[in-house]
Amino acid sequence: MAKKLPKTDVVIIGVGWAGGIIASELTKKGLSVVGLERGKERVTEDYYMAHDELRYALRYDLMQDLSKETITFRSTEKIRALPMRQYGSFLLGEGLGGAGVHWNGQTFRFLPYDFKIRSMTEERYGKDKIPPEMTIQDWGITYDQLEPYFDKFEKTTGISGEENPLAGKRSNPYPTPPMLHTPSMKMFADAAKNLKLNPYTVPSANLSESYTNPDGISRAACQYCGYCERFGCEYGAKADPVVTVIPVAKKTGKFEIRTHSYVRRILHKGGKATGVMYTDLTTGEEIEQPADIVVSTGYVFNNTRLMLLSKIGKPYDSSSGTGVIGKNYAYQVIKGNAAGFFEDKFNLFAGAGSLGMGLDDFNGDNFDHSDLKFIHGGNIAHTITGQRPIQNNPVPEESPRWGKEFKANSLKYANSVLSVGSQGSSMPFRHHYLDLDPTYKDAFGDPLIRITFDFEEQDRQLARYLSDRCAEIVQEMGGQNIMKLKELGPYEITTYQSTHNTGGVIMGENPGNSAVNNYLQMWDMENLFVVGASAFPHNSGYNPTGTVGALAYRTAEGILEYSKKGGLLV
């Protein structure tokens, strides 16, 4: 029999970006909030020994412990899904701050096109442009409706940036000026301009200068130490929930964080959530936390899995195309890159997670797709994130991968290979989805989440197109012996690509095609809000966190309204 605790106004599952934002906004208005985090407490002092590539980048110190819980994967319904036994394609966050601790901080707004993707694509190219199996849909919200929330997230985090001529209209400039420019970033900008493209400095949560946000939280400037992605920031310069929103919520005295608390079920009765059941990992005790409002902020996999395990919403059925939970799983097409060898050496050991120059001439519908066999595109960027030595040993394609010649080449080129990469968007397909695995279990005996996903012709065409554009820029920068993608190949789970998984509890205009409305409120359960990239009906050609942050702020507003009036907000 589970121990039952006193009821709280709101219980939040997972304390990362989405959980932290919602906790800070609700507690500021006087609601009592309990945050349940399955990982441990984290503080900036944890990272004074953070410049350790082996511990953090190769041994995944900040990531979820896969021995207790992982995902299973199959490329089609015809084969058996098997567990991701070791990390590869993407990394799962855990602990206070979640993946917001070890992100790079590249903070974009999805394009106006993204939110109206089906109607705008059909309007410009006709209905036949979208293959029948591609299940894109309008998001039930427009860029203009979401703009104030993007603005809010950027102010909280202090994003450093400059105007991007091909992005949606902004109500305010970025809160802080762009990051410093390295010599190779200048080369990229010059090359892009020569090619009549529109380069701009990548918007960064790393902070170009010290900054105090509207909540009164001050942070120091980035030191370009070269250890962002997979690492925590020892300066607190990188925006992270632990150094921004969580302290604001804590200060109100209304936010109680319980770490090592693993939520296993959302409890519900008569169509309404009544609270959650979690296991205290330090004692093994099962505990019930009743609440008026439940907010699930477990990004993608945990949000979807909790809905399925708790039997909330209608599970997606790929054979009939009905149901919604697990639908529209999408990813990021990240392999459309190019790299070149240069005569000069560069300070590639230095950098920051979001230091770089980018352009959106080939993103969204910013270019004509009439003669192309794909829709959408991707952001193209030259980023300087710190080339750490174990993971970065570029050698010419024909060079051996070990031995005398490898050593000589890898040392020779350690500081003179520049790359230009793309973040290709990822469209959903009817046969790509998440559900519960019939065989493999977590440490509690609950089924793992199962991914059914592969790259499609859309992705192959898009990756090759973007890789060609990247190669043109590298060539214009003066690169020699240029390496680029030849063929995308099948999706495989062993090579790191991106942690930008999306979908599963998607938003939309009506309960027929979506699980949540544009306040991320469940259509089927009005006091349950499901927040994260799980809400994205497709993934854009950008990092997702800016859009997750904006949606979280909007959700917080919706919850406040709901707490007063009740009922569906849309």
């Binding site: 410049h51 070791q86 390295t182 120091a220 950098g351 050593k407």
Partner: protein
């Protein structure tokens, strides 16, 4: 512009030591074995040296301590796959699904090193460490290309593990037992871990003497 936090964090500027050669008889107590027996250690030492050999640029993986690094890693969490999902059932999967074996890294090394020895004996009637460098390369290439047929483990899988852990031993912080005196970093002009690069981020290539985590304690 640099806040109080930075002033507090930055270690006092001191002239970095020019990677002093340790005295000949200085003991490095880290250089002993936690997992391998002496034969396994000698095979590993010979193999890592072929993957990353000594040359005009500087020392090879052997002198850098990569074999001690691997020994120490196999003795801990990584060797036991402690943070990997190792629950049954085990099925042969598609290549896209990644490693699906039941063996842990320490068992794979145990078998792999023995098979390197067996193959060397069969082909050259000698132990792997006693082979000429070209013969050692031929043995490793046979593993890399799966020309060696093994029933227990994947020969190429073992080779890839050996290669990646060699690079880890060459380039990880010296605290783990490899990258002796930061010479791995020095060879590729990698400054190890510095607290800040604000002064050079806008500049052309700058050689900075490396620092290790020990400098930040």
């Amino acid at each position: 512009m640099l806040g109080g936090v930075l002033g507090y964090l930055l270690p006092k500027q001191k002239t970095p030591p020019a990677a002093p050669a340790p005295a000949q008889n200085e003991n490095n107590y880290n250089q002993a074995l936690m997992f391998f027996n002496q034969e396994q250690y000698r095979i590993t030492e010979a193999a890592v040296e072929r993957i990353f050999p000594a040359d005009d640029n500087g020392p090879g993986a052997k002198e850098l301590g990569a074999a001690f690094f691997i020994d120490h890693q196999l003795a801990g969490d990584w060797g036991f796959n402690a943070r990997d999902y190792m629950q049954p059932p085990f099925y042969v999967g598609e290549k896209t699904q990644g490693y699906q074996g039941r063996l842990r890294r320490r068992e794979i090394f145990y078998i792999g090193l023995r098979e390197i020895q067996n193959y060397s004996q069969k082909k050259y009637q000698k132990d792997f460490p006693s082979l000429a460098p070209e013969e050692q390369d031929a043995v490793l290439t046979a593993f890399q290309n799966d020309d060696v047929k093994l029933t227990t483990i994947s020969a190429s899988g073992f080779f890839n593990l050996l290669r990646s852990s060699t690079l880890e031993g060459v380039y990880s912080d010296p605290l783990y037992g490899g990258n002796k005196n930061m010479q791995g970093w020095t060879m590729r002009q990698y400054p190890g871990n510095q607290m800040a690069y604000t002064n050079i981020i806008e500049k052309n290539f700058t050689v900075i003497p490396p620092k290790s985590l020990k400098d930040h304690l």
